[in-house]
Symmetry: C2
Amino acid sequence: MNFSSKLIEDSVNAFASLPGIGKKTALRLTLHLLSMPPEISEGLCEPVLKMRKEIQFCATCNNISDTVVCSICSNTARDQSVICVVESIRDIMAIENTNQYRGLFHVLGGVISPIEGVGPGDLNIESLMDRVKAGTSKEIIMAISPTIDGDTTIFYLSKQLEAFDVKVTTLARGISFGGELEYADELTLGRSIAARRLYEE
Amino acid sequence: MNFSSKLIEDSVNAFASLPGIGKKTALRLTLHLLSMPPEISEGLCEPVLKMRKEIQFCATCNNISDTVVCSICSNTARDQSVICVVESIRDIMAIENTNQYRGLFHVLGGVISPIEGVGPGDLNIESLMDRVKAGTSKEIIMAISPTIDGDTTIFYLSKQLEAFDVKVTTLARGISFGGELEYADELTLGRSIAARRLYEE
């Protein structure tokens, strides 16, 4: 594309460097900002730069935080005896949006993946063990993706946690609510039959 | 959505203020920048702010420009006797990308639209007339959208240009190249039959 302006071209390339934004969308965004007063461009960039510069990671659970300890860890109304172990901060947001969980979190920062060269030492496992050693935890929930790497990670963590007096649980697995049986994948359906439960009203 | 961080929330809202970007995409962009070094965020914002601050509009044709006169107007290799009148800078980019036009441009900044309260005085018509008065122009091409407002604008401009010794032309209208007849709209197809031309090999 020929923009006949280096300034426009640089701005388009900047937007197009973001995931999921192509050259055409980048041009649309650039021309949108161009048609607006300069304050709008500053109003876009200022919070983004501030966020990147000032964001912290919670000293306890590694969640993103505006302060040294995040708003979840510092909330004494939450159940301090349960820790939900997740891969990323995205998962915390997803679980928080369900409004079904009132305990604490711990962000691993990924899963053990021999193929991608991620070992236990690359994850925030040490700090999880320190929290468990403190002795306030009664249950550790493994809210980790049901993949091979995820299952490896759960297995590794459960072995590490055997030494402590805590209950290790995983998310319930089975067919999705509202889903139709014929569209469920074979593995999920097969395991759901094998792990069938007594019907409770 | 609950972001548990004011910084994240502000950044998400900033991205979501852009056209075509919703809260979910805005969160994805924010978390992407968060996972990258701070230089990446600066590399995004710096060209955007620079563009908005330093961009100029060509003193001759109102095209966007890095200098007082744009790269098209200042290019003496281009045909100085033809002016292509367009609504916006987006149209200049579209026409330049065809590589079929080697003349000059003039950006109106919109079309006459009584419904939206846009009159001839709101458009860059005065400056177009000044350019025609200078006497170097032989042809004025109306590259304006084939809508009711667009046709009104072309009619108004052609009346204004009657006093000068210039040829006024419009873009060819008819069925699209590569299109299929059955999918052409009735108005276009009807007018294409009425305005049929002698076949030339």
